[in-house]
Symmetry: none
Subunit: 226 residues, 2 copies
């Protein structure tokens, strides 16, 4: 998991917010906090977290309302929602899960348990994205289904050939691709283009991304290394 996982916690009790943040940060997550339902929705929209932990009982909008809002917005389709409550009450539990919550944790919260559960949720979720067409390396992400390249969260627009070339190399970091391989993979076997064409595209990728993620292996070919 390259890019840090973003977690938003919403609870009106400042001390709980603090203790949970502390443990989540220590566990390597990037943490945002909200002290009521409205702020939770606002920050969810701003930061697009991967997981949102919601207290049921909160001012402005309660956890159920926030959960319902999130689940009605396709933007949050892949966002995990964990509901938190002081009540050990079966009705809330079922209601929360039916509204689309992914997990339910009862207070008092053990930080260790919380982190274990969140980790377990992500473990389950990650492979479910299937044979991922997304390549992640450091802070560089290359998503084939979206034709999208981001570096440190910033989006870079690559042209079709540039993208396909980068994707090919990045799919097997470190491996050197011969010019012939690149030609047949990116251009196809029936198309005939000169060697300089590859260079030019490599150059454009390097220029656009501003990082040297492609290494030249003189006399052989190119490889992705980042």
């Amino acid at each position: 998991m390259e890019a840090p996982i973003k977690i938003l916690i919403a609870d009106d009790e400042a001390d709980i917010l603090e203790i949970i943040s502390f443990h989540l940060i220590k566990a390597g997550f990037e943490v945002f906090t909200a002290k009521d339902g409205s702020e939770a929705i606002e920050k969810a929209n701003t930061y697009a977290p991967d997981c949102i932990i919601l207290d049921i009982m909160m001012p402005k909008r309660n956890g159920f309302e926030v959960c319902e809002y999130l689940r009605s917005n396709s933007k949050f389709d892949k966002t995990l929602i964990v509901l938190l409550t002081a009540l050990n009450d079966e009705t809330s539990h079922i209601k929360g899960l039916e509204l689309g919550g992914d997990d339910f944790i009862t207070k008092p919260i053990s930080p260790k348990v919380l982190i274990s559960r969140i980790t377990a949720l992500f473990r389950r979720l990650q492979p479910s994205t299937g044979q991922n067409k997304i390549i992640n390396s450091n802070d560089l992400s290359i998503d084939l289904t979206q034709y999208k390249t981001t570096l440190k969260g910033v989006n870079y627009v690559l042209a079709k050939k540039e993208f396909e070339l980068l994707y090919l190399l990045a799919a097997q970091p470190g491996r050197v691709f011969l010019r012939g391989e690149i030609l047949s993979q990116v251009w196809g076997n029936d198309v005939i283009v000169g060697d300089r064409t590859i260079d030019v595209h490599i150059r454009k990728i390097r220029a656009k991304l501003g990082i040297d993620c492609i290494t030249t292996v003189k006399g052989v070919g190119y490889k992705f290394d980042y």
Copy 2:
């Protein structure tokens, strides 16, 4: 969900086995039972269930051992494991999740809760089973049942094809749809229309909504991004 979801329950207490089975069957699952750890492993191999509910305290092999066995076998990569225990004990909880359990439920078990949680787990796992008829993204809402599009609460009237095209793209924000995909999804496979037709409709949508929610990926297709 075409084929019934198969669930294996392992517990040494016959009455618990019975009551859980009863409720799971009622909820539409196909249920297998085992009364100890060895039998659980045996039946897991035989029936390849989608979900295995394991009591921690069982004869022959306990829940942890079975969990560890299952997780070491790639055959069960996609199998959900739910651990069950009478102890409300944090250590077991964490140990179970770390061994690769997907969820942890403490006794006494409420059948309703159990079923909610299992359903929630499967909901997450199933790739977009939720064929939502209403798409919401930011302040844009697209309602298939009413063929209605609203932006910031204001209603916009899209023609049939325009609506269907927008709906298709918006159903999977970010994903690039190839022109061919768009044609077969919106127009069908037997209808033959030119490529310009898509452009014109895209243009009309952009003009009507006044926002640029559809991005062109040159040489590839279009995607919804808002």
